[in-house]
């Protein structure tokens, strides 16, 4: 990763303009060319430095429902429960964390009622309680990592 890559990463964590040639505009800001900018973005995506490039959607505003959920799973059952939970396509990510509530996952659903239904289904499938922590208020979202 060279200096131009770093500049690109910093700049593109902010908004890409909506205009006919957005990359040309950003390239000018960074003192490079449209071609070079596009191929650098492609390379950063290919090598996994960027996980995504494009519109970032707000699921809740699009009619879907998102929630953070947690479970308390005994160690001996942990891996099998993780597999069962992971099998649900609505589970977007799942992390082991250091707490009595040791499994934390994000549920992303697309039609009304699907979230509640999925929570129940996970409880039935695993035999453990799912604690649901839907957001009551969003104060801030947006990560900016300076490189």
């Amino acid at each position: 990763m060279d200096n131009l890559d770093r500049q690109i990463i910093n700049r593109l964590q902010k908004n890409l303009p909506i205009c006919t040639r957005p990359f040309e505009q950003v390239a000018q800001e960074l003192g490079t060319t449209e071609d070079k900018l596009i191929s650098r973005i492609q390379a950063l995506l290919d090598d996994g430095t960027l996980t995504r490039f494009g519109p970032l959607f707000n699921a809740a505003e699009l009619g879907g429902e998102l929630s953070l959920c947690a479970m308390s799973i005994p160690e001996q059952a942990f891996d099998s429960v993780a597999d069962l939970v992971g099998d649900f396509p609505q589970v977007a990510h799942n992390y082991a964390r250091n707490h009595t509530l040791n499994m934390w996952f994000v549920l992303a659903t697309s039609y009304p009622g699907e979230l509640e239904k999925t929570l129940k289904a996970i409880e039935i499938k695993t035999g453990y309680t799912v604690y649901n922590f839907p957001k009551k208020k969003e104060f801030f979202i947006g990560l900016y990592l300076n490189v």
């Binding site: 596009i38 494009g54 970032l56 699921a59 977007a92 799942n94 104060f139 979202i141 947006g142």
Partner: protein
Amino acid sequence: MTMPKDDSSNDKLDQSIVTLTQSGLPLVPQPYHHLAEQLGVDAEYVMARLRAMQQDGRVRRIGAVPNHYRLGYKANGMSVWDVDDAFIQTAGEKVGQLTFVSHCYERPRAPGIWPYNLFAMVHAHTKAEVYTLVEHIQDVLGDWSRQHDVLFSTRILKKTGFRLGDK
């Protein structure tokens, strides 16, 4: 010229734009024209809809999501706070303004197992740095917070993108 104006065709196009760009924006000199071509509508119309979606919050921004591990941000702590309900709004706003906090939400407590109602995700290079930043949040919250904890992810059990728009 294909540039309908009524709400239902707008909704339909918005839905198509979401589906088409879920895996990302095409990396070509004129990305919005490229989308318009695939959708069979005017580029101006696609750009207008994206602006509208950004204005009403359906699109947060158009940009890049870096992989924090790859950029050296290897320690990600979920700091959680038991904040007096009377102060949650101000507390959330203050914590949300801190540059090292990526997500800041009020969430419900779960009596008996989970006393925390404010969640603030902290990204740093090391665990020690996370703890220093969490102290900083403690300073900001002062007496408003009765207790707090920091949860680190010890293992990724599943990580996939969100599925949006595939109804």
